[in-house]
């Protein structure tokens, strides 16, 4: 058996009784020493990627992990592998698309999976709409990269239409508009 924190053989088998739920650990002598005598260890907060890796090692076989890694969000294109490496998601839709993988992580980090705090005063935009715009932005980038400027210009128009509508909607619903002419964001 390999150590859970490095690649060396695990010779220490520890059950930590001080945490809830109880934690079973299989460590090499060096990592065990560090675990048992934390005063000698540094005190950095666990990074997202280390939490993810720990979680996955406990729950997934190598093959399951390989399949999971290639899963890619249809809206922003981020793969689970990329998220796992960087600890950062690619767009709001990832919270739905990777929900099954994220829930245990959220539970691990926050001890909870449900927000109970503040919420925006206005009704949030429909996620179907915002997801579609994010996809358009991705297509715009591809069109510019492949120098397909005609397509890029069409996509840009569609994004501008959305932005103008969203802003006009804000104005109609009685928000302090100020001057909000049709000028979209410059590209």
């Amino acid at each position: 058996m390999k150590c859970q924190k490095c690649e060396k053989p695990a010779t220490f088998h520890i059950t930590d009784l001080t945490v809830e739920p109880l934690l079973a650990l299989h460590l090499c002598p060096d990592c065990a020493k560090q675990y048992l005598q934390p005063e000698q260890a540094a005190l950095p907060a666990p990074t997202m990627s280390s939490v993810i890796d720990k979680q996955l090692k406990l729950e997934q076989t190598a093959e399951e992990l390989k399949e999971l890694d290639s899963k890619s969000c249809p809206v922003c294109g981020v793969t689970f592998f990329e998220f796992r490496q960087a600890g950062r998601l690619g767009c709001p839709h990832d919270y739905d698309f990777f929900q099954a993988e994220l829930e245990p992580l959220l539970l691990n980090v926050h001890g909870n999976t449900k927000h109970v705090g503040k919420h925006p005063r206005r009704v949030p935009l429909e996620s179907e709409v915002t997801n579609a715009v994010i996809q358009e932005r991705r297509e715009l980038r591809d069109a510019v990269e492949t120098e397909d400027y005609e397509r890029a210009s069409k996509i840009r128009d569609r994004i501008r239409t959305f932005e103008t509508q969203a802003r006009d909607g804000d104005r109609d619903s009685g928000n302090s508009g100020g001057e909000s002419s049709g000028e979209g964001a410059e590209v």
């Binding site: 001890g111 100020g178 410059e186």
Partner: protein, 357 residues
């Protein structure tokens, strides 16, 4: 240029006033927010970033109160000015070192700043002097509402405010206090205190946030959990632990006074003497010695220097500040000489110049 104006002043959080300010330097709250119709920063193209920065900035400027902020285009700043804003705690190292379109909106009094295109699209922060989390929360909540009246945030029915990193999701809120704990360091109890904080899900970082070393015995204590608790709860959880920390530090100081006052007085006096007389001195050594002197002043062991002066020196002697204030070059050795001169001019008694001759 706004940065030149900033250099001459000191920020609100250095005022050295406010409740318990001998130990609690400042109270800070930040909110992470994202715009609903853009990908998170990591998946943004250069076009997206530029668009996003312009959209957020223009939207904020449409609000009367937010239009009063100073908007600084961080992408156009040279490295010295960026480092200056980091030392000032107005931007993060991450924003300073990132690439592409990014900016920061700053209030003149430096109590609030809004970073655009950091790890999240918006990082809103409010910083008050001393132990004053409640009013910091009220201020940032108001600011968040003002921005939300202009920008559609990414918000999820179940998960709340969506963030690039799931460790921030929900409230997107980090509540922190910057505490000065020199006596706990000297008495070697600091690790013990930190371990007990970790057990109640609080995080301890150095002066400049994630991954930074504890400099000058300053530590940031903040919440780790952001999901499943209300904002008021998170403020309460950090607030509750602060009096305990203050009590530990005061007891450690009492212990040092009672058990070895001569040692303590000697240490503090030597630190003060070095700062007054050194001919060249590094930033790290300066922080270390200023920390001792700060404690000495708070304990009444040193009389003729004020806490606001010490607080100011903590920031003004850092590399980018020193370079801007003394218009000196970039070499370390020259900086160390300039730093010693700067310290002398602030810490040496001015009346005795005639006695030397």
């Amino acid at each position: 240029m706004i940065i030149e104006d900033l250099a001459e002043r000191i920020g609100e959080w250095l005022r050295g006033s406010g409740p318990e300010s001998d130990i609690v330097m400042s109270s800070r709250i930040r909110l992470a927010r994202n715009v609903a119709d853009f990908p998170f920063i990591r998946r943004c193209s250069d076009i997206d970033r530029a668009n996003l920065e312009a959209t957020v900035r223009d939207s904020m400027k449409r609000h009367l109160r937010l239009a009063e902020l100073d908007y600084v285009n961080v992408a156009l700043l040279d490295p010295l000015d960026r480092q200056f804003l980091v030392e000032r705690q107005l931007i993060s190292r991450e924003l300073s070192e990132a690439e592409g379109a990014r900016s920061v909106a700053i209030e003149k009094e430096e109590r609030l700043s809004v970073m655009i295109n950091e790890e999240d699209h918006l990082r809103i922060q409010v910083m008050h002097s001393g132990f004053d989390l409640q009013s910091a929360w009220e201020r940032i909540n108001e600011l968040d509402n003002q921005i939300e009246s202009q920008i559609r945030y990414a918000y999820h029915q179940q998960y709340g405010y969506l963030t690039a990193c799931p460790t921030n999701v929900g409230t997107g809120m980090r509540v922190s206090v910057l505490v000065h704990l020199p006596a706990l360091v000297i008495t070697q109890q600091i690790d013990k205190v930190f371990r007990s904080l970790q057990r109640i899900n609080l995080v301890v970082r150095g002066l400049y946030g994630e991954g930074s070393q504890a400099m000058g015995d300053f530590y940031q204590v903040s919440n780790q959990i952001t999901l499943g608790k209300t904002e008021e709860d998170l403020v309460r959880r950090v607030s509750e632990v602060v009096p305990v920390l203050i009590n530990y530090e005061r007891k450690a100081r009492e212990y040092l006074i009672n058990e070895n006052q001569h040692d303590l007085f000697d240490q503090v006096s030597r630190a003060y003497g070095t700062l007054q007389n050194a001919q060249q001195i590094s930033s790290e050594e300066t922080m270390h010695l200023l920390s001792r002197v700060r404690m000495g002043v708070n304990l009444g062991l040193i009389g003729n220097v004020e806490i606001p002066t010490i607080n100011k020196l903590f920031v003004h002697t850092q590399p980018a500040h020193l370079q801007k204030l003394t218009r000196s070059g970039t070499s370390n050795s020259q900086g160390n000489i300039e730093r010693a001169n700067y310290l002398q001019s602030h810490l040496r008694p001015r009346t005795d110049s005639s006695e030397h001759n």
